[in-house]
Structure formats: C-alpha cells, structure tokens
Subunit: 247 residues, 2 copies
Amino acid sequence: MEKGFRQWKEQCLNKLDLSKKGQVDEDISHVVSLLNGCEQYFTTSSCSGRIILIDGAQKHGCVWLFVSHQQCQSDDLMSAVARSSGDAVLKFEPFVLHVQCRRLEDAQLTHSVAINSGFRNSGLTVGKTGKIITAVRSTHGLEVPLSHQGKLLVQQEYISFLTQIANQKMEENLRRIHRFYQNLQSALHADNLPAEPQTHHRSQETKNQTSVYKRRRRRERQPGTDCCHGDGSSIEPELDDCLDLFT
Amino acid sequence: MEKGFRQWKEQCLNKLDLSKKGQVDEDISHVVSLLNGCEQYFTTSSCSGRIILIDGAQKHGCVWLFVSHQQCQSDDLMSAVARSSGDAVLKFEPFVLHVQCRRLEDAQLTHSVAINSGFRNSGLTVGKTGKIITAVRSTHGLEVPLSHQGKLLVQQEYISFLTQIANQKMEENLRRIHRFYQNLQSALHADNLPAEPQTHHRSQETKNQTSVYKRRRRRERQPGTDCCHGDGSSIEPELDDCLDLFT
C-alpha cells in the first residue's frame, strides 16, 4: 500500500499535464508545491479560480468567450458577450484542488484544513482500490445569464456592476487560498513534531483556531439555518467533525 | 462502534427538528424515509432545493425576501425584489442531503450513488470520533445580483427570463433526486443480496450504468477540461473512484 502510493505519485507527477493550459495556475503554485513536497500527498488537478463567460445552447456544445484567472475589466466582458450567438452565462468559479492522500488520516488533515479555511464544500472520496482523495471546494460562486439566442439581456451598467462583484469574489478567493496555505503549513508542521510537544502545541493552537472558526461559522451560517430539515447543530456536520481533528 | 451508531441514530431521529420549517421537504420525504429505514444510515439535514431571494449588506445581517421549494412565478419575485433595501441576490440552491453512515463502506455506497446520479460535488467527512457522513451536493446553481442599495439593477423582462431558468433548474433538480432515489434503491437491493448472485447481478447492472455515466460525463466535462492543471483523466477523480465501487 505504501509502495503503491509512492508509485502512483511518481507516475502522476511524471505524466504530461493534459489540461489546455498545461501548467499549474500561478496563484496556487506554492500550495501545489507544498503538497507535492510531502510524501503523503500529491495533487491530481487544480484551478486557482476564474471568471469565465460561456456561450451555451450552441449547435456544437459550449463556446468559451472569455477566461481570466485574475481580476478583469468590464470592457473585456462587454466585448466577449458581444460575440455570443447562444446563451452566454458569466460565472465565477472559485479555487478547486484535488489531493490524493496516502492514508485516511492524511486526507482528514487536508479536509479539516480546507473546511477551516472557508472551503465548506470540501469532501473526501474513498475508492475501493484504495485511492483516497480530498477535494477542496468552495461555496463561493456567481452564475449570471447575460444573453439569450445571441441577444443581450442586460445593460452595460449591470455588466460593470457584475465585474466589480466578480473581482471582489476573486479577491476573497485569494484570501482563502492564503488562509488554506497558512493553515496547511501549521497542520503539517504540528503533524511532524515529536509526540509530546506536538500534543501541547496542537491543543494550544487549536483553542484559538476553534474559537475563530466558530465565530466565523456562526456569522456565515445564519441564512442557511432559516429553512429545511436539520437538527440545527449538525446542519454543517463537516465543520464539527473537522474541528475534532485538532482537539 | 455498532452499538454507538444505533444510539446516535436513535438520539438524532428522536430529537426535535430545529430548522425553521421543522420538517423534511415534501419532495424528498421518500428519500429520507428510505435511508432512515436502513439500519446503516440516518439523515442529519436536508433540503429538496429552493429558489431564494436574499437581501444582503443590511445593517442587521441578511433578510430573506422570498423562498420557494417549488417552481415560482416571476410576479412573486418582482414584488419580493421591490422590498429590497440592500443588495438582493437571486439564488437557486439545489438538493442537499447529509447522511450519517455506520461504516466507511456504507458511505462509499451512498457517495457513489450520489455521483452517478449527477450530484458531482458530493463527498465524505470522516471525523476522529468515528462519525462518517456523506454529503450529497450538486454543481447546479444560479446566483444573480438583482439590486444594489435597494435600487433595481435589471429590467422586468430579465427577471421573467431568470424565473424560467430557475424553474428549469428546479425541474432538472427533481429529475436528479428521482435518479438518486432509484439508484439508491438498486444499490441497497444489490447490497442485500446473497454473495454469489449479488456479484453477478451487480456486474450486469454496472456495465449499463457505467457506459451511460461515462457518456454523460464526457459530454458534461468538455468545458471543464479546457483549462487549469490536471492530468485530464483525473480532473474529476470522484467519478472514476466511485465507478470502481460497482466494478
């Protein structure tokens, strides 16, 4: 199993990057390097976050009218949407990362770091062949129809407003990536300390982290708890579970 | 551990439903009943899917201007957005379900059913205390800013168009819930068959399922693979892993 993981990792990291871009996005190369530098992890796919304009409902599938991994200008979006001949939709897609992990405990660590850094849609996949993957995902999105059958549905001022919103989301996304990177460094560091000091170090660190996360969570959760079946305490079961990992 | 799970389940199902609605949404009561009727599962929270209008950036947090768990009328949205005094955002939030599972294998089964039914953002959480939860989540969303500081940003025709889109998403959401229910029934049935026939039954069923899923996946994945780091084959590692469960 240990040997199997090392081989998997070697094969994956030596393979050609088959994505169109062919390389890791600049804003997350440090995160990818940190993980790939640990023997218990390797990344299988990633995107730092992007603002995209897709022209759907086309004869031959979708057409990409615009992609940016950085903040963008409203003029760029205007000229892109002008090329739409179908149903154009503007999306902000946040940071996403898939990390293959050696053991379940390793996956629990990355998962807990992800949740605690604000990536609340993160989760594990455990395959029957022993493949264990943490998917880091955010709830942070934007999905706005802009044209129908090539006809613009909104005014230029609205597109300027959307550009601001998308850029703000991009900024917040970068802040969360930074938080993820820092929390990951701390967690990996704690994980590598010798048994005794480690316990102490962790529980100290955790008290602060936990209270910060609980505060943030309480604030963010308010709308979500207003509706639908749940026992209140466990409407976001991931977070409670993941905090367990630090205690 | 087995005893622990039974106690957890009993406590959870006997607890008051602390959500505002206080009960399970009508469109998913059969799904929740099916799971709670199995000794290896119980649901901890759920929402069948909803169209919501939230007024954000308010002095005292968010205000809910509109919520519907069914298809809605554009007039209802128009009159709701007219009450906005902050930044109103229209969202479609798809089906979400949290299922606590007795063992990891039980969680793998619900997770694989979820992925194969189109809920591609699903994932597991494994807590240190032994809590194992499958979160069933979709990628299917809509998030459209409609007002800023109480001022409407779009025209009435655009809100009518959005209502259509949201209602279509609600319909597709119901289809996926139905698919999830049917796949869950088959998987639970296969899981309960005696060892020999079970293997045969499963592998027969799987061949059809797998090819259908692969086709669907290929079609849906196209835009996603156009960009960002990945080895192509594993940009959506969950699906591959989950199909493993059936083979």
